[in-house]
Symmetry: C2
Subunit: 258 residues, 2 copies
Amino acid sequence: MALQKIDTYPFSVAPFDDDFTGHLSWGVLGKHILSCAERHAGARQFDSMQRNGHQYLWVLSRMIIEMEQWPYLDEEYSIATWIRRYYYYFTDRCFDVMNAQQQVIGRVFTIWAMIDGTTREPQMLQELFGKTFDPYIDLERPYSAPSFSRIKQQSEQPIATREPHYSDIDQNGHVNSIRYIEYLLDLFPKERFAAQQVSRMEITYNCETYADEMLSFYIDPLSANDYHVTIRKNVGSEQHPKGQVVCHSALTFSNRTS
Amino acid sequence: MALQKIDTYPFSVAPFDDDFTGHLSWGVLGKHILSCAERHAGARQFDSMQRNGHQYLWVLSRMIIEMEQWPYLDEEYSIATWIRRYYYYFTDRCFDVMNAQQQVIGRVFTIWAMIDGTTREPQMLQELFGKTFDPYIDLERPYSAPSFSRIKQQSEQPIATREPHYSDIDQNGHVNSIRYIEYLLDLFPKERFAAQQVSRMEITYNCETYADEMLSFYIDPLSANDYHVTIRKNVGSEQHPKGQVVCHSALTFSNRTS
């Protein structure tokens, strides 16, 4: 018998899950989003796996997170997740973040691919699993329809560089997809986060980063509160003088309401 | 009626609590150690507090962590904590890290001070709280007797620099004491952590770091697996040409046993 389509996981803002203002940090929220995806997929035998001597890994391809409210230290919240669609190499997964009163305070839309751990090539999902995800597709729950920005890097001067090391690397052997969120936030002065918070974050992941590859960050401001940021790696290398695009992102700041 | 002296908190290695080898990461272990301290103190009305318009904050002064085994992804573990002593400005707090079979796999010894949030000056604990910690002092449970190293910086050339930003700052307004652990590990090549792990870490915190203060790292190797590392801030500034010591640390690598 198939499991339910939607799973909901409870959390609370533990000490040190918060940023300096006492609100849940982006890093911890992002980590929990990833772990809910893994637990939901795992419970349905769609998780990362070994097969025929190959290791297959889920990797995040695109993500939009929109947060209206941020839980505060010690507050309870929960994350519901479900599959919206799968198509060839990709699957769309949605998340609702809910406060203790079960009101939706954030919506997350993600697109995932499963790669071969050795070749790092995406796999046809239905072939790979030998079954469809159909029993688990939920089309009824409202979700944040994806509207990905067209992000074209204009700036030619990096505003910062950063070299990932041991503590940035996850079990997939690359910089964890949530670490980039911290890298992006850290481009802005800490003072700004006293009165504002990033309320919308969009990332398109283009290529992986490994330890010791230098990242360069290019900011294009669109308005006082909207930014496009492009991350490139290995800029100035012989093979790729302009570097390779690691990800394109869009960030929107809003005033804190609590 | 006084509460028990020792509290034990259960954890499990959730997805993304691990490092790239699948073992609990130092960063997450450290965060849980801090949060156990906060919960244990809070339950006994010894936590950070507002009084007479002042805010008082616990800050970590010294720490030794010795780990024999690292829990693996999905494994359960627990952390027990108790107060060993208090004296003038300081209190000693111990922790045992236990695996699912209740065997002690790690021991932590910490020394804390409570500072005034404005002056950043340490406070006489008994005066501040108007009571002693006596009912909660446990002298019976075995603990790792502190043996702090004499750490004297020899190297004059920093091996790396790093500028903390928004995501490094905690509710105390400074770089979180556990972030330094990640900074220290990141001085070593990721490859080393495939076969080895840091099994002992000792940190003496000398002064706080705020956002945008540049940190410089000086490594003194003592043997193939033992290092002293000194972190300084604002090296080369007019006021402090040699910078100010942020912390002294000692690290020992051991071969991974699992």
